[in-house]
């Protein structure tokens, strides 16, 4: 296997990256430059690494991204992108926030490296949103319609007519899908 850095010498040092991501394969020469010749990591190096990481995280407590972004192309080098929601690179850089859920795809090039700096992983493994199952259970459908009808009443009572119309359409849709006559 060739060295990742010089792509010339044979890689003799194989490192597992600590924060997820890919492994690093280096030749002795390049490894020395990177100061990882002394593997395994000593306690001291470890604490240095951790404090570096901490310094990156610290300024973010104020909800700002800039402080970790310099590691990643910033300013002129940061590609100008715009999402259909109207959010662009400038706005993102300014407040460190996004405009809509699609922005995560639009800005992923510089967002993804930042994510791995702020979090302990890059992949969500917690609670999930259950996608409503398509099993046809008549009792459940009837119960659903009933609860929607209750909601409809509330919406009307509260004079939220826009929402009421949506609920009414939803009820009609469910009835139609399941061949229930309008009663």
């Amino acid at each position: 296997m060739k060295c990742d850095k010089c792509k010339k010498n044979e890689a003799t040092i194989h490192m597992k990256e600590m924060l997820g991501g890919h492994d690093l394969h280096l030749c002795a020469e390049c490894a020395d430059v990177k100061d990882i010749g002394k593997l395994p990591l000593s306690d001291e190096m470890m604490s240095n690494m951790l404090s570096e990481l901490t310094e990156k995280i610290m300024p973010m407590l104020n909800g700002k991204l800039e402080s970790i972004l310099p590691e990643i192309p910033l300013g002129a080098k940061m590609p100008q992108k715009e999402c259909i929601c109207g959010w662009d690179t400038k706005k993102f850089q300014k407040g460190g926030r996004l405009g809509c859920q699609r922005c995560y795809e639009v800005f992923k090039e510089f967002l993804n490296p930042a994510l791995s700096n702020m979090h302990n992983g890059t992949f969500h493994i917690g609670k999930k949103v259950s996608i409503k199952s398509e099993n046809i259970d008549m009792n459940k459908i009837v119960a659903d319609i009933k609860s929607l009808q209750e909601e409809l009443q509330v919406a009307i009572k509260k004079e939220i007519y826009e929402e009421a119309a949506i609920i009414r359409d939803k009820i009609n849709q469910i009835k139609q899908d399941n061949n229930i006559n309008h009663a």
Partner: protein, 355 residues
């Protein structure tokens, strides 16, 4: 509605909970957004109104909130009224500059609240006295499920719950415990503790996150990372670290009692003297003083003072609550005088043993 709040004690401070000598309260908040609607700072007024309506309807399905609900539209409130909600930790700092469509819904016992259209469409928050993150998680998880039945959340298989700020994606969960750590402060251990917690991906912050980080020796420990670990793992890591901090605080108290008792006695004694006899007290003076009274109560130095009464005083001596008590806006000079009077009277009553 607000008067009702003011006339009741802050439940998460006034009730008992496990380990509540050192752990004051446990809180979890979840950040959620509705699918296919831009995040609040990028959405139109119409879209945000639709969000608020949807959530108001979804909340009707939550038993605990049905007949027992407080509800405010934030930009229709006076700054002082908003401050009251902040001081009771029902809303966050950002709500003080709320958008026109920002609302807060909360259970009247103040243990659960939903903030609509602040940084995210939805912020669910549950809070309980003492150290009980698992219980708080159960509560908030159920509320979250109930709402998810009625609204479709913005969710991505890889990135989890999508939030306005990338620091919250994944679980969208921030779990925190407020700790009272006077002995660790007195023995200069807080810096090491903070660094140690940082290394584990946790954050230790001073109370309310304002300037001075040892205001009242109160600290909030919370998770920083929200992506890459499941909720239970984040919570269990937090619990392990907090258990360690609690036992360190106990050790430090023991150490001081054995080796430097005068340092404790001096701090508690001076604080009592100050709160009992002062005529001018800033919020910081009062909170720092109450902190040592609290330590004194924990160590058995004041048999006639209930710790939950002291906890509640931490909130009632804050600027918003004071002005509501006085039923008028007050300059800081007048607030400092009123604060001192209230505390003098409170401790005079306690001294005479009438409570």
């Amino acid at each position: 509605m607000l008067n009702k709040l003011l006339n009741q004690k802050v439940n998460w401070l006034a009730d008992s909970g496990p380990d509540d000598d050192i752990a004051i309260s446990s809180r979890i908040r979840l950040a959620r957004n509705i699918n296919d609607i831009p995040f609040p700072q990028c959405a139109s007024h119409k879209q945000l109104t639709a969000v608020a309506n949807k959530i108001n309807l979804a909340v009707l399905n939550i038993e605990e909130l049905k007949n027992n609900q407080g509800h405010f539209v934030l930009n229709k409130m006076t700054p002082l009224d908003k401050r009251i909600l902040l001081e009771r930790r029902l809303v966050s700092n950002e709500c003080l500059n709320a958008k026109s469509s920002s609302e807060v819904i909360f259970s009247l016992d103040e243990k659960f609240s939903i903030i609509i259209n602040e940084e995210d469409h939805l912020r669910l928050q549950a809070i309980k006295p003492g150290f009980q993150l698992d219980k708080v998680w159960d509560i908030i998880n159920n509320f979250d499920d109930a709402i998810a039945k009625k609204v479709q959340y913005a969710f991505d298989a890889k990135l989890g719950f999508l939030t306005s700020c990338p620091t919250n994606i994944g679980t969208g969960m921030r779990a925190s415990v407020m700790l009272h750590l006077p002995a660790l402060v007195l023995t200069n251990k807080m810096k090491a503790i903070m660094n140690g917690a940082f290394k584990l991906g946790l954050v230790v912050r001073g109370f309310y996150g304002e300037g001075s980080d040892n205001l009242g020796n109160l600290f909030q420990v919370s998770n920083q990372s929200t992506l890459g670990e499941p909720e239970f793992e984040i919570i269990s890591k937090l619990k392990k670290v907090i258990n360690q901090i609690i036992s360190q605080e106990k050790n430090a108290r023991q150490y001081l009692l054995e080796n430097d008792q005068n340092l404790i006695l001096d701090n508690v004694g001076k604080s009592y003297g100050r709160l009992r006899h002062a005529y001018i007290l800033t919020a910081k003076d009062a909170i720092d003083g109450l902190s040592f009274i609290r330590l004194g109560v924990d160590l058995g130095m004041f048999s006639n003072i209930d710790i939950h009464l002291v906890n509640n005083l931490f909130v009632t001596i804050q600027p918003g609550h004071l002005q509501k008590f006085a039923k008028k806006a007050m300059s800081s000079k007048h607030r400092n005088a009123l604060r001192a009077t209230l505390l003098r009277e409170q401790f005079a009553i306690l001294e005479s043993g009438q409570i």
